[in-house]
Amino acid sequence: MSAIARNPTINDILKGISDPEIPVLSIMDMGIVREIIENGKKLTISITPTYSGCPAMDTIRDDIKKALAEAGFEATVKLVLTPAWTTDWITENGRKELAAYGIAPPLDPAADKKALLHEKRIVKCPHCGSINTTLVSQFGSTACKALFKCEDCLEPFDYFKCL
């Protein structure tokens, strides 16, 4: 879960900002907003990267500043590393949005840990709902996704892997 501001206007603005690589998921649903310090119109917002090399962080930082500036706020955006982001922080709403967009949402971390030890992990196909799916590659179109294939509808799909 992301941090929530006391001023609802700020929350609404932040909900309108998304990771450019996963446009359906707002940064609030992604759980990367770790702290919002409000001092009238001056704000200090801490965000945490999903992956160390996430190329979207600079864009997200600029988008936050710009969107808040348009509403008269002056925001300083800080990058924090600890505690490290986990897919557990993606909200229930975020998971629904991901599935609707065609990306299988992360399972609980225990399932991925088991899969790393080569026990079967059950990932549901976001297209047809089948659980008859196989891992094609641990690394997908971006660092946060793995590539799967559905054995029933034969469509490939991305799985947002647990971190």
Binding site: Y51, G53, P55, T82, A84, S137, F139, S141, L147
Partner: protein, 250 residues
């Protein structure tokens, strides 16, 4: 003291940077779409980690260096990476062999660093460890697939392991800076990792039906700044923009 932590960060960050650079050379050249994407994703993770280390190092720098200065404006003998990571991409077996031999070490190193007394190093390690767990899984699986695959893939994988194995001796070697950082509880205990490292490596090699190279001879030098002939070529490409257009930025 801050200068010594700065030096220590180079030992870690130079490895992730040079290995990340080697993998970036495969962008668009991977043997298949999936492996190309996987290797470049791993490269991206390593560059992200490198930036975290160098950004931290920049705050400790006496001469107001930036992360880019640290990455791009040092001379060859000032880089502290091990020889293993600078070895070239001769073929896919070499890429996987190098990755696996480094991932095993990297995984154990980060396991130690999450308990560092330095909260910044611990935070970077905590973040990186999650990523490196996937790297190690990827490279271990490929070692097994190639080793226990066809006669040809087995032979190529064995050749790569035989060639790269003598470079692993440098990984647990401890320099004076690393010793001091260990004693302060900031750095990892490298000699203590050695047994665990080789146990893990050998376990995967055995499962891959590969022979464990029998050698008493190990090559080292990178940590002291004495690099192989490949390093100069890497730096020529890596540093080109900053050398040709000093202080350029995106």
């Amino acid at each position: 003291m801050t200068n010594k932590i700065y030096q220590y960060l180079l030992f870690i960050g130079d490895n992730t940077m040079i290995l990340g650079h080697r993998l970036s050379e495969l962008c668009g050249h991977g043997p298949s779409l999936e492996t190309d994407i996987a290797l470049t994703n791993i490269s991206l993770d390593l560059f992200g980690q490198t930036r975290n280390y160098f950004q931290l190092a920049a705050t400790l720098s006496k001469e107001d260096k930036t992360e880019d200065d640290i990455a791009f404006l040092r001379m060859e003998h000032e880089y502290r990476n091990v020889l293993l990571v600078e070895q070239p991409n001769r073929d896919f077996a070499y890429v996987i062999g190098r990755q696996f031999l480094y991932d095993c070490y990297h995984f154990l190193l980060l396991h130690e660093l999450v308990n560092s007394n330095d909260e910044h190093i611990a935070a970077i390690a905590q973040k990186s460890l999650k990523e490196v767990t996937y790297h190690l899984d990827f490279s271990s699986e490929w070692i097994k697939r190639l080793g226990a695959g066809t006669d040809e893939s087995h032979e190529k994988m064995q050749n790569a392991i035989n060639y790269l194995y003598p470079y692993t001796g440098e990984l647990p070697e401890e320099t004076p800076i690393e010793l001091e950082m260990k004693e302060l509880g900031i750095g990892a205990d490298l000699p203590a990792m050695k047994t665990d490292y080789y146990n893990r490596v050998h376990e995967v090699l055995k499962e891959a039906t590969l022979d464990i190279p029998e050698t008493n001879w190990f090559q080292s030098g990178g940590k002291k700044g004495v690099h192989s002939e490949h390093m100069g070529y890497i730096l020529t490409q890596l540093q080109y923009m900053q050398r040709a257009y000093p202080n350029m930025s995106w």
